[in-house]
Symmetry: C2
Subunit: 132 residues, 2 copies
DNA sequence: ATCCAAAACGATAAAAATTATCCTTTAGGA
DNA sequence: TCCTAAAGGATAATTTTTATCGTTTTGGAT
């Protein structure tokens, strides 16, 4: 994935710190602030936590990344892609994307509520096969 | 709704503060910590914010209430009931329950992933009819 | 009704998470 | 190469949440 291009097309200046943030989000799939801070520190020993927060907030505002809030866990951040559901194992804490057709549900809800839906969050949680 | 009974059956001692917390959650449907603090203060002028946090955490642990986390909003709390979806208007911030068949989706996901699902969160957001 | 221990309360301190400020450095267009 | 707006790091301040502690209350046993 070309992170420089991704940053540019979202009207932000390209910095090495930002590229590193996106690289790590991409490697992890989803990453929380503490994990991200540790990872980015490997490249930029003196990166400020404030810089991390500022970038995350800015990238969210500019629709480059997305925050996923999960009850009793820290927020996770991911690079924006097509709407997709998530599934969490509350035993091993594995958290993954799900191949689930969200648009069917969205269409249905738009019809019954007359809302214009522009975002939907689906989080399933339970116990994965390995942990059962 | 009998809140005393609800508290007792969840193995907690009945206090006037807890009843007030549940009453307000029930009245609002969903309420965040700040709103709840203001409301409960009307009955208990000297209630401590710490007490509110302690009770919320305890009631969550004992499955009496539930936290709903929403990106870029403060968490909302609601009395536990059957799994249901939520919908948010990002213009007027109205937040309501949705009559949406979650169990169909859960069944589907259980089959395709081999997870044992015990909870699911569905949050739709967009613009309600009035705000369009 | 009274007593008692565990639990809950309020006040407050402490810790954790997030944001703001300020000065220096850098990105990227002119 | 120059210049300005933006980004970085350091740090302070603010906000949010949790822990502590002494007092009070709940609810079961007497």
């Amino acid at each position: 994935m070309n992170f420089e291009y991704l940053i540019k097309t979202h009207n932000l200046k390209v910095t090495a710190q930002r590229v590193s943030i996106l690289e790590n989000m991409n490697n992890y799939g989803h990453i929380n602030i503490d994990e991200l801070f540790l990872e980015v520190k490997k490249n930029f020993n003196n990166i400020s936590l404030a810089t991390l927060y500022k970038n995350i907030n800015l990238m969210i505002k500019n629709s480059l990344i997305k925050e996923v809030k999960i009850a009793s866990y820290k927020s996770k951040y991911e690079i924006k892609k097509d709407t997709h559901a998530h599934i969490l194992c509350t035993v091993c804490n594995e958290f993954e994307d799900l191949d689930f057709n969200c648009s069917l549900a969205v269409d249905n809800v738009e019809k019954t509520t007359a809302y214009k839906i522009d975002n939907s969050e689906f989080i399933f949680s339970g116990i994965c096969q390995k942990c059962q």
